[in-house]
């Protein structure tokens, strides 16, 4: 029997190249840091009648990042969030002082239409609020239709795109004509997110978007928020400290209507500069 000689490939000494050290996925890159801000809020105060809900807040909110607003109940978190797209004006006898510049433009300037502001700066609320008489598809497309968009192909494309971005498409693609209210709580909240992004806003304001959801639905919303931040600026109000720690790049701590501290989430949750922040996040408040 003829033996086969198997030639070993010529030996070459291995070249050990140290791999590039991977940047932490949680770190804020220089490019992200250098982006122009989404909001520049200067000396903002808000009153409801005589009650001053927000006191002289000055803050710069970075674009295409996630900023969390934390603080105890009644500290003005929601009022501040709503002031970023003039939603607080829907409360009777609300009064404002100071400036909110969005992309360099004062959204409270007399020649600015609040509806136009709200189209560019969308909002998702604590309790999911699909329109009860509308189907899933109608819920997503209502914003575009109200803006006069009628082209069917475009609407169909935007419907799928928005539902995909809201991580809901696979779950509802065969039920688009069923009522929005037929979905589960977590799905309804993602439907509301799809509705908010269908009009292609630049910013998403979220007021406790996952507080009524179970941990799985919450995780889906948090993952979605992370995905959305590649395209949108996200500002989220949350009572859940761990959620703020998990999902945000920056955190602002509000107390009694004042901004106590604003900084990178890593810094706030490992070594806050202000004693009040430390006491609040570690649970030693009051």
């Amino acid at each position: 029997m003829e033996s086969k000689v198997i030639m070993d490939p010529p030996m070459t000494p291995p070249v050990l190249v140290p791999p590039e050290r991977a940047a932490s996925p949680l770190a804020i890159t220089e490019a992200e840091d250098a982006r122009p801000p989404a909001f520049e809020v200067e000396g903002l105060s808000i009153w409801y009648d005589e009650k001053r809900a927000i006191q002289d807040i000055t803050i710069t909110i970075p674009s295409k990042m996630i900023t969390a607003i934390i603080g105890p109940s009644g500290c003005g978190k929601s009022t501040f969030l709503r002031s970023l797209n003039r939603m607080h004006e829907l409360v009777p006898r609300a009064r404002i002082e100071g400036k909110v510049l969005f992309a360099g433009e004062d959204i409270y300037s007399s020649d600015i239409d609040p509806t136009a502001v709200r189209r560019r700066i969308g909002m998702v609320f604590q309790k999911s609020n699909p329109f009860p008489t509308m189907s899933i598809a109608e819920n997503v497309l209502i914003g575009l239709k109200l803006n006069g968009v009628r082209e069917r192909a475009f609407l169909r494309e935007r419907l799928e795109q928005s539902l995909r971005m809201a991580a809901l498409w696979e779950e509802v693609k065969n039920d688009l004509h069923k009522p929005g209210m037929s979905l589960s709580g977590g799905q309804q909240q993602r439907l509301c997110i799809a509705r908010a992004i269908a009009v292609e806003p630049e910013v998403l304001l979220m007021d406790e978007p996952a507080s009524a959801l179970d941990p799985i639905a919450t995780a889906k919303i948090e993952e979605l928020i992370h995905e959305l931040s590649t395209k949108y600026t996200v500002v989220i109000v949350t009572h859940n400290m761990q959620q703020a720690g998990r999902c945000s790049d920056f955190t602002a701590f509000l107390y009694l209507g004042r901004l106590i501290e604003f900084g990178s989430t890593n810094k706030i949750f490992t070594n806050p500069s202000e004693r009040q922040t430390e006491d609040y996040i570690t649970g030693r408040f009051g």
Binding site: M241, T277, F285
Partner: protein, 228 residues
């Protein structure tokens, strides 16, 4: 130094218990190191045996601290200074356990040395022990009192211990050549010097963790700046 009570009393209790276990472990490691060195200088095998026996309890405390630390992270998800305290306690326990291992190693070497007439070169060990022990005690003190300056000072003292070790090694190598009959004895002393030098390294790690716990500042692996 926990300034204000946590809203959850159980969290404060868990943190206090974790800290107490770290302190107990440090106390045991200190005693073990002390017994091992006394066993060497007083030529007392019983003290050496006690030092070796202490190690078991210290190992159990290390396991307990890790378990309690993980439990606290799981149950309370601490942040800021609380998070740093828990992470530091877990890192401290690893270093304290290694200090205790060095004490055990020293005790074993001392027992071997005790079987032969005392070597005058044992005196090389005395200043090293004093220096390593003071570094270890101060590093634990820095952790307990959250004293950043003391922590930094401990780190800068490690260089002197390294130098004492180099001096001792040179002298012992020289003696090996001059007096090869006692080679094993000199070798055991060299190992003891090396174990004490390692105690200094662990004290440095503890001091660095103490600074992190107190001030959230990472001072590890920074270029050494000799003190004036």
């Amino acid at each position: 130094m926990i300034a204000q009570r946590h809203i959850l009393g159980t969290f404060d209790e868990a943190l206090a218990s974790l800290r107490n276990n770290v302190l107990m472990m440090a106390g045991l490691a200190e005693r073990s190191l002390d017994r091992a060195i006394k066993g060497l200088f007083e030529r007392d095998d019983d003290l050496c045996a006690n030092a070796i026996a202490d190690d078991e309890e210290i190992d159990q405390l290390e396991i307990q601290i890790d378990k309690d630390g993980v439990d606290i992270l799981l149950r309370f998800q601490p942040v800021a200074s609380d998070l740093r305290r828990v992470v530091s306690a877990m890192k401290l326990s690893t270093n304290i356990e290694r200090v205790a291992d060095q004490a055990t190693n020293i005790a074993r070497r001392a027992r071997k040395l005790n079987q032969h007439p005392a070597l005058p070169e044992m005196e090389l060990i005395r200043p090293m022990h004093a220096h390593a022990m003071s570094m270890f005690k101060d590093s634990i003190d820095a952790y307990v009192r959250e004293d950043v300056e003391l922590g930094r000072a401990v780190v800068s003292r490690d260089e002197k211990l390294d130098e004492l070790n180099r001096v001792a090694s040179r002298r012992l190598i020289q003696r090996m050549a001059e007096d090869p009959d006692q080679l094993r004895g000199y070798l055991n002393l060299m190992f003891i010097a090396r174990h004490l030098e390692r105690v200094g390294d662990h004290a440095t790690n503890i001091a660095e963790d103490a600074v992190y716990a107190a001030a959230a500042e990472d001072i590890r692996h920074q270029p050494f700046v000799p003190s004036a």
